[in-house]
Symmetry: C2
Subunit: 238 residues, 2 copies
């Protein structure tokens, strides 16, 4: 899962064998910390943002750009896949389905699940990585202590890795890296602080775009994480 810069020896660096990684950056806390990790482990980054007609699209796009500015990433691709809105089936893309208030004890899949969304994100990341010759794709998926979405589980990423291996050119070698998949949300906060990740630029709320609502699934998970990490969330809440 991605070595650090330190293990590249000098001759590799001199040969111009620059390692480039695509980083999926939604603009949320998890993708921010994932980008901070990716920056430690690669010579160059390319940031990919995918919006899909979700309620807080514009706010998330702003967070993406501010994170890219922060890390001085000039290679950016922002893609809009509005068909997920046309397909519907989620409270994030269909305004007739309410964004439910968080029930962190529940084991069922929340209404905010966007059917098979992460496969779309990975397909775009893979096509881009194949064309720009990036060798890794970083995704800030979190399996435990989190959403309950089926497309955030390690099995999903393992299966998608096999799909990449089978469905790209023989000479293409792309590895999916999910560096925070087994972390608790509070550990992600701590990791972010340790790496000086700009958490104040991130946006997590599913519902509002000015001040975070503090009540949706995503806000509830975030607030609990900061509480457990013993830190103050730097963004504003309603």
């Amino acid at each position: 899962m991605g070595g650090s810069n330190e293990i590249l020896n000098e001759s590799e660096k001199e040969a111009g064998d620059e390692s480039l990684a695509v980083c999926l950056v939604s603009g949320g806390m998890d993708s921010c910390v994932t980008a901070a990790i990716a920056r430690e482990e690669n010579d160059a980054l390319a940031f990919l943002h995918v919006s899909y007609g979700q309620r807080t699209e514009a706010r998330e796009r702003r967070a993406f750009n501010e994170l890219a500015d922060h890390y001085q990433v000039t290679r950016r691709l922002a893609v809009s896949i509005e068909h997920l809105k046309a397909i519907g089936g989620s409270s994030l893309t269909d305004k007739s389905i309410p964004v439910t208030e968080a029930d962190l004890a529940s084991r069922s899949i929340p209404t905010s699940y966007v059917p098979f969304r992460n496969a779309h994100l990975l397909a775009i990341a893979t096509s881009w990585a194949e064309v720009i010759a990036a060798r890794r794709i970083y995704v800030g998926a979190v399996a435990e202590d989190s959403s309950g979405y089926p497309d955030c589980r390690p099995e999903f990423y393992q299966a998608f890795q096999a799909t990449i291996d089978a469905g790209t050119k023989p000479e293409t070698e792309i590895e999916i890296v999910t560096p925070i998949i087994h972390l608790r949300k509070s550990e992600i906060v701590r990791k972010g602080t340790e790496l000086d990740a700009p958490l104040h630029l991130t946006w997590s709320c599913y519902q509002a775009e000015d001040r975070a609502c503090g009540r949706c699934d995503s806000c509830a998970l975030r607030l609990r994480a900061f509480l457990e990490a013993g830190q103050k969330d730097p963004i504003a809440y309603a």
Copy 2:
């Protein structure tokens, strides 16, 4: 791989257990014959068309609609994923890369390969199938005697099947069906004729939209298929 209607027993039919299948319909010959097979094997069909900024986009969309009209399919979704054009890397989406003339003897991947394209198509089909409760996705991929694209091989579809199983809700059961993947192109022509598939409505040419060029990879494969099947291709060539 999808039984025929005949093996459904009457009690299942009476219970209103209608089988719905999503059919990926590009508008080409392979997807037309696949749709003809899907129609035999399912109670109801939903047609999905995905354009991606390829040169002959408008002509293919017309073929899609004419095929849907022919089969009286009202459930249609036409999606445009222009980011594959932004990503580039293919002669189909980047006009600075010429569409090469066919070299059917070559073993290399043609310039018309759109990086990882079929993963995008399957992701869209899966999201839609999950929302409309379709149980099968039909894809007219052809592995042998064909394009040489990595994302047309059986291994790719097997890996994607595992991705669907891992990345959708536990109660979702969606099966990818690739009924012509092992057929030669000439067998596809014969199968189409046998099922009375409207091959005259299809469009295969990568280059032209009025009369097929007859020289690109796709035209060359199609013409050879009709020749080997001993039939006349009903569409017009330049």
